[in-house]
Symmetry: C2
Subunit: 139 residues, 2 copies
DNA sequence: AGCGACATTTGGAATAAGTCCAAAGTTGGA
DNA sequence: TCCAACTTTGGACTTATTCCAAATGTCGCT
């Protein structure tokens, strides 16, 4: 908890109560929440928090490099505290988003495209998670 | 023009005037338009077309396999008549989206992830286009 | 402790993208 | 011709997000 305050300070962010509350959720989660989900999660413990502040704070964290913002599903942005390069899997059935480690996938040629100054890239995978592999037949 | 009617028929789509008008734009463009952009482009020649019909038609085309829908920029979907697997480059400065041929990039390991039934994947590249090298083309 | 300057938060209005709906229009085939 | 199914439409509604001006909080200085 306390180290979040330090983390914000080292990123030149004033650690207001609201920002600390948002940080304590969004900088830790692996769920790739939308802004709305952040709002719901944080208002549980900080009921006076406003939506506008959630948006302000998320965008500030993105600007300061504490978060990444991704467009992986239609209509909404999701936020991810995992700021190092990595890939994403999107479960078509549930909408769940899962990080895929950078080294798990080998990509060749993406940063060497004519006329393009590549800032970053990632592989986006869609599909479904399959049921646990067991020797039982479940039907 | 006429072959669009045939194309719709072979995909079990009744070729109404509205659908043909939308098809003549969206099945040909390389611009990755949003629904709103389709609406604007097509109402230029078919002024009575409604937004609802544009959405209905785009979704129908997606369902019938004539279009792909992608979430590449925040908040909006774009539509792409290029339905074969390929990658995308998104220009950060202009928002322009450009297809990258499948074979231009080699990806290894994306379809072999534990617990995941991969339906498809693509590389999404972000950056900016750099100055054109003496491409002379009439504007 | 008080003050001013600045930063931050807030609720609500505004905007944008998309969905939903019931009524009206169109069409193909018996 | 007529009808049942299909298609289109405008408008209301929802959801995500931005914008704004007022209120509140913070900090350094005296």
């Amino acid at each position: 908890m306390k180290q979040v305050v330090e983390l914000l300070r080292t990123h030149a962010i004033q650690p207001s109560a609201q920002r600390v509350a948002v940080a304590n959720y969004v900088l830790v989660t692996k769920e790739h929440p939308t802004a709305e989900q952040v709002f719901h999660a944080v208002t549980a413990t900080f009921p006076t928090l406003s939506r506008a502040t959630v948006y302000n704070t998320l965008h500030l964290f993105v600007k300061k490099g504490l978060l990444k913002q991704f467009a992986l599903t239609e209509g909404v942005s999701v936020f991810d505290p995992h700021v190092e390069p990595h890939h994403h899997f999107v479960d078509d059935e549930t909408g769940a988003i899962v990080d895929i480690p950078w080294d798990r996938i080998r990509v060749e040629g993406a940063d060497d495209l004519p006329g393009i100054d590549v800032r970053d890239f990632q592989v986006v995978i869609r599909g479904k998670r399959h049921r646990r592999r067991t020797t039982n037949k479940a039907t």
